[in-house]
Amino acid sequence: MKKNKWLPMFVTVVLLFTFVLAGCTGSNESSENNVNSSSANNEGKNATIGVMLYNYTDIQGKEIKSYCSYLEQNFNVTFKYATIGSSEEEHITGLENLLASGVDAVISGYDTALEESLNLADDAGVYYAVVLGEADENVKSDYFVGGIKQFGENPAVLGAVYAEQANQAGVKNVAITSFPAFAFLDAPVIIQGFSDKMAELDSAANVYEPEYHSFAPQDAIDAVTKIISDHGDVDAIFALGSGMDFVYPAVLNSTKSDIKVLALGYNDSTEAALENDSVLMAGTNNYSQIIANAFAQLYDRLNGHQYTDWKPNGRVNYATIKSVQDVADFKAYVIPEDKSQGSVTVDELKQEMLTYNDQATWEGLQKLTSRTISEIKKARQ
């Protein structure tokens, strides 16, 4: 009898909870609709764009969502988000679900199962963009707006910038850690750029062979341990695979915690790490530029416009951070709460979109979305 009473109670509580959650979503939707209706005087047609990312909880995911909200407030657009896993099956499933929900275009973080994804997008008549990587230029589709180069036109230049910082800090023996090249296609070019510049700046400097590791924090710890055991004199690590999230903590917890880190990556501990000199340099993608680039092209296509000078892969700036002042600038111009003070404002973006400016060009869009932090800072002053 006792059981009979609390079973319906449990079910009632669960159902109530579910409906409350449903209600929460509903109220969000209505507030979004209000925002959209307030910007109903925009010239572009109403569009829904799906976004597919592994997660929306790290800085990248949060900032991408935040910039999308900014776009929602200023364009006739609504974003719909899907969290996907790393396997092809999960990617395709996420895309199918978004297509079934009636989106007009899709921004995918990754080029996973690109051909099949484009087949699905083609069948549904939905435009598709890859934003966190370069796309295979051989893949053709009328609905594909392309990919984005994360490290600029030539990733070797980024490697050279890190080498200059290492040289200025006076490090002599540098190890390299990275995700495997099959997963991080630009890694060998960045490493080459770094090694060449180091050799050019200081012929006495040693750059050891890269230590490739997989995708879990423990893999980075193992790589750091191996470096310390193989090269006792190592004084810096150029960490390409989640440098701040994986390698920096691994170094701090190692037997040689005075190793300096040159990291590809950014997180909340970057500022303190730069301040105490344990990190010489950090860096990350400019999330606003990434979304601005893809959105401009997708929204133009949805409004029947396409750049005559279009190329399959656009570019954004890789924001590098060398000092506490750089962190402050990064926070002010790359990840500000008020996106109208950030890397790409709505007015700037509209200038490079054919929907609002028939003189706009694809190259102009690339210039806008590949500005460095100092260029953005100058534009805001």
Binding site: C24, K80, S87, G94, E96, T112, A113
Partner: protein, 337 residues
């Protein structure tokens, strides 16, 4: 007057009898009813929530396509879970099987042979898995862990040492596995075969008996080793078949192919009411209903546009509710082991 009273009494008696029969039927089939009611509730909830978009022809096709891999695998794994086995290698084996098929097809092997390769690789993995478990007395989850690492290791090695991405050069060769009618027929046939084997054939009955009490089963003349091996081989065949659906869906192989599938299968089976320790309560319908519920849930949540930070929470609540209703068994129902 007397006749009227007698008629009323007899009506009342009939109604009481009807109620008793209904009540006893409900009690007897409580778990099955909750299973289907759960599926119906999810269907109803999302149909209303999406204002009918859930049941558009486009989305029904989407759901059928998404069911193909998970459903096929789940049917196979019921034979493993029902005897108390546990398999977490399914994602990695599917990846290895898909990769072998893709490489074979790219090398010019006829389609029919490529299909056999897919089945062969998967069956071999599952055979090794169960042989390790039964010969060395290891827990099945441990042997499946070993198979998972080996299979994933082979795929990762091959992918990372290949100059170009591993993808089907002639993707249209897999068109049959993308054909909606073929998928639907396959799902129906696999479901029917699964139901027959599990409910009415020796393999199903013996698997359940082993799941309840291996010692008693053995003393009743059940060959535990043979039953387990057959169960794993059946699972292997279906995982191999599912790998073809998977390959047709993506045409590409990466180190992540099949990643996370093991958890999806377990969640789907639990959502369908399958007790993971196996036994007489195991049902093939758990795989059918569970995978449908799971796919509908994932599909519906995206269609509705539930905030990404809430998706896991909503899934968790629904999962908890279903598990609570389906798997909370009175102590009297649990057979001592």
């Amino acid at each position: 007057m007397d006749t009227l009273e007698r008629t009323e009494d007899s009506d009342l008696g009939a109604r009481t009898l009807g109620f008793r029969l209904f009540s006893s039927f409900m009690k007897k089939h409580k778990n099955t009813i909750i299973q289907y009611v759960g599926l119906l509730l999810v269907l109803l909830l999302f149909t209303i929530w999406t204002e009918g978009k859930l049941l558009t022809p486009f989305n029904i096709k989407t759901i059928i396509r998404q069911l193909a891999v998970l459903y096929t695998i789940s049917i196979g794994l019921v034979f493993v879970f029902s005897h108390g086995g546990m398999d977490i290698s399914v994602g990695a084996v599917l990846g290895l099987s898909s990769m072998s098929t893709a490489l074979a097809m790219n090398a010019g092997v006829p389609f029919f042979v490529a299909v056999l390769i897919a089945l062969g690789v998967s069956v071999t993995c599952y055979f090794i898995n169960i042989i390790i478990a039964v010969q060395f007395g290891l827990m099945s989850v441990i042997s499946s862990l070993a198979i998972m690492f080996i299979s994933r290791g082979i795929v990762t090695y091959k992918v990372s040492t290949s100059v170009e991405a591993i993808k089907l050069q002639n993707s249209s060769a897999m068109d049959i596995f993308r054909n909606q009618t073929f998928i639907l027929i396959s799902l129906v046939v696999i479901g029917i075969i699964g139901l027959i084997l599990f409910n009415w054939m020796k393999i199903g009955k013996q698997s359940r008996a082993i799941g309840d009490n291996p010692l008693a089963s053995m003393q009743s003349g059940v060959s535990i080793k043979k039953t387990k091996i057959i169960g794993y081989l059946l699972a292997g065949v279906l995982v191999g078949f599912a790998s073809l659906f998977s390959l047709a869906r993506s045409s590409t192989i990466s180190e992540n192919t099949g990643a996370g599938l093991e958890m999806d299968v377990i969640v789907a089976l639990v959502l369908g009411g399958l007790a993971l320790n196996g036994g007489s309560k195991s049902k093939m319908s758990s795989a059918i209903v569970g995978t449908m519920t799971y796919v509908l849930l994932n599909n519906g949540l995206v269609m509705v546009g539930v905030a990404t930070e809430m998706v896991s929470l909503v899934k968790g609540v629904i999962f908890l509710a279903v598990v609570f209703l389906l798997l909370r068994r009175p102590r009297s129902e649990v057979v001592p082991r």
